[in-house]
């Protein structure tokens, strides 16, 4: 509940001596504010370090590039985030992007107008998501890993079959526009990401459905007992994850002016990593949509910097691994320090 920390004490009798805000120690408070800003801090640190390493890093053009490069991971990671919130996993997102883009390209070549092509891609993504969700829930599968692994394989096979193994060039102009610069030097895709983030954020925060997702992730059996339609909540997150994959396909299609069965290679690992770097837990019910976004951008920033620094691929793999560990360990440290500072602050005030 979005209330101030000490409202609770007004209920019944004061159970604890709540710290009074005005007594806060300035130094500590500042440190605490910094520390509790979370993954953002780690991202900021990363950016500072990188801007020293490469003169190109902080140029407007490069920042715009980074946003364009992370657009797909970002959108898909947000869907993945919802799935992980319910203790699930969606391995099919990458293939789903590929299939949706191929289906979109085919429909364009069959003469569909731009809006229809977009609708077809998004619907195709959502359909794969629906299959995941429905099989998982109503097929009583023990874990979504299996069904999403199966659709990973099936969607990839279908995409290859439909496209006859090749990329299909050509996309309506409205979609291509997403890859071009739009406003403030930013590509159109960035605004799509922002839009999706805003909508999902609003839905998760203000709608009953959002509350249910946390309940289902927190304790599925209790959610059932409380009469929450657990099955449908679960189906819904897979549909939305698929939908996000569909939107990812649109963005990628705009960026490449094509649909391709090779799209989305290893996207499942990237998006899951983004979500986990962002601080969600596989045990469900914990995590914040915005952090998943930051996780995605962090991955994009690292990749971009390695390219700028002209690091060889072999070495890139090593560096990416090391940086991911450092990023997560910094977050662990940050969390620990935050806890310590809070206790110190409480101690001084009491």
């Amino acid at each position: 509940m979005p209330e101030a920390g000490n409202t609770g004490t007004s209920v019944g009798e004061a159970a604890v001596r709540a710290p009074k805000k005005q007594e806060a120690v300035p130094g500590l408070a500042l440190g605490l504010a910094l520390l509790s800003a979370g993954p953002v801090v780690i991202l900021a640190l990363l950016i500072v370090v990188l801007s020293f390493l490469s003169p190109y890093f902080l140029t407007g053009r490069n920042l715009s590039n980074i946003l364009a490069q992370t657009a797909v991971i970002s959108v898909v990671a947000m869907g993945q985030h919802l799935v992980i919130l319910t203790r699930g996993i969606d391995l099919s997102v990458g293939s789903n992007v590929a299939l949706a883009s191929v289906v979109g390209a085919l429909s364009f070549h069959a003469g569909a107008p731009a809006f229809l092509v977009i609708a077809v891609m998004v619907a195709c993504g959502a359909a794969v998501g629906a299959i995941n969700g429905l099989f998982y829930v109503f097929g009583r599968l023990p874990h979504p890993f299996i069904i999403t692994l199966a659709t990973l394989s099936i969607a990839k096979g279908l995409a290859l079959q439909l496209a006859d193994g090749r990329a299909i060039p050509g996309m309506p102009d409205a979609i291509d526009a997403l890859g071009r610069e739009a406003v403030w030097g930013l590509p159109g895709s960035v605004f799509v990401v922002a839009g999706v983030a805003a909508v999902l954020f609003a839905m998760a925060k203000t709608m009953v459905w959002g509350r249910w997702i946390y309940a289902v992730g927190g304790r599925p059996d209790a959610a059932l007992r409380m009469g929450i339609p657990v099955s449908w909540v679960l189906v819904s997150v897979y549909v939305i994850s698929g939908l996000c994959a569909g939107i990812g396909a649109v963005i990628l299609a705009g960026r490449t002016d094509a649909g391709s069965p090779l799209f989305g290679n290893l996207l499942e690992l990237d998006t899951i990593a983004a979500v986990i770097i962002g601080g969600a837990s596989f045990l469900g019910g914990r995590g914040h949509l915005g952090h998943a976004l930051i996780g995605a951008i962090m991955i994009g920033v690292i990749r971009n910097a390695l390219n700028l620094l002209n690091v060889n691929v072999f070495f890139q793999l090593i560096v990416i691994g090391v940086v991911i560990v450092i990023a997560v360990e910094s977050d662990v440290l940050r969390n620990y320090l935050e806890g310590r500072v809070r206790v110190m602050q409480a101690g001084r005030q009491s």
Binding site: R61, P169, R255, N312
Partner: protein, 283 residues
């Protein structure tokens, strides 16, 4: 003096592209006025990785770019490079219907496949059974090698009884060969669209107790243990492309284009068949 900054982007870490990169670096070392920036994707299908590489090359202000494009999906990003005044030279394979390039430095994979097909035509007859070890599903350059081979066979109508994706890896080369041999004891030939699976195929054939001379094994790339296999007689032939030549000529073409010198639109780096007879020349 102002250095000429050029970029080279290759597909992914396999010996073929490493050789290409090495040759380009050697070229740069011999030409001090050329500053070379290299980049490589992570997998044969790493479209987004390649796009990101092109974008950072643009950011770094290269004047020219030699690239082995994954597939047509990178065209719009290359358009951006062209719009930024960068000379783009495609290496190894082209992009159908894309006109932005200054030149194309390649052997045609289709033609390479034809060379293999023509060789097979001399040793097979209509009705013979053949198995195919495909590369990575969906990678056009690799698919072309299979298509080309079938074309090369011409009027010899062989029966393709087994086709499996190896992702150009040793381990899948082994398994897929095993299974094709199991299902087709009367198999006459195996054709592989890339080099890495070949040693696996050789091992499977010998494990199955089939003599060297019973099955014709033809590969592509002449790399990754193929030379040894040809020398031992386990492999009968392989199509060699010349990645070093591609790397060198690719960069050379870019540099010339930047200097405003005239360049050929199509630079053919050629392909050849490696057999026991000429294997010495390829070591």
């Amino acid at each position: 003096a102002d250095k000429i900054k050029v970029g080279l982007i290759t597909k992914f870490p396999v010996p073929f592209y490493s050789t290409m990169e090495d040759a380009a670096k050697k070229y740069a070392a011999a030409h001090p006025e050329v500053q070379l920036v290299t980049g490589q994707g992570q997998a044969a299908t790493d479209i987004e990785g390649q796009i990101a590489l092109i974008e950072s090359m643009i950011t770094q202000g290269v004047k020219g770019l030699a690239i082995t494009p994954v597939d047509p999906t990178v065209a719009p990003t290359l358009d951006k490079a062209v719009a930024a005044g960068i000379k783009v030279v495609l290496v190894d394979n082209g992009i159908p219907d894309w006109k932005g390039q200054t030149a194309l430095v390649s052997t045609n994979n289709l033609n390479g496949g034809k060379i293999a097909g023509e060789y097979l035509k001399t040793v097979l007859k209509s009705g013979d059974k053949i198995g195919i070890l495909q590369g990575v599903p969906g990678v056009p350059a690799l698919d072309d090698r299979v298509t080309g081979m079938m074309e090369g066979l011409g009027d010899v109508k062989v029966e393709v009884v087994g086709k499996g994706a190896t992702n150009c890896t040793l381990e899948l080369g082994t398994s897929v060969t095993e299974d094709i041999l199991t299902a087709n004891p009367d198999l006459k030939a195996i054709y592989a669209a890339c080099g890495p699976p070949i040693p696996g195929a050789v091992k499977s054939i010998s494990n199955a107790g089939i003599g060297n001379d019973k099955i014709i094994l033809v590969g592509f790339d002449a790399c990754c243990g193929e030379i040894e296999a040809i020398k031992s007689g386990a492999e009968d032939a392989s199509v060699a492309q010349f990645p070093a030549k591609m790397g060198e000529l690719g960069i050379d073409t870019v540099v010339k284009a930047i200097r405003g010198e005239p360049v050929e639109a199509n630079v053919d780096t050629g392909a050849g068949l490696v057999t026991l007879q000429n294997v010495k020349d390829f070591e």
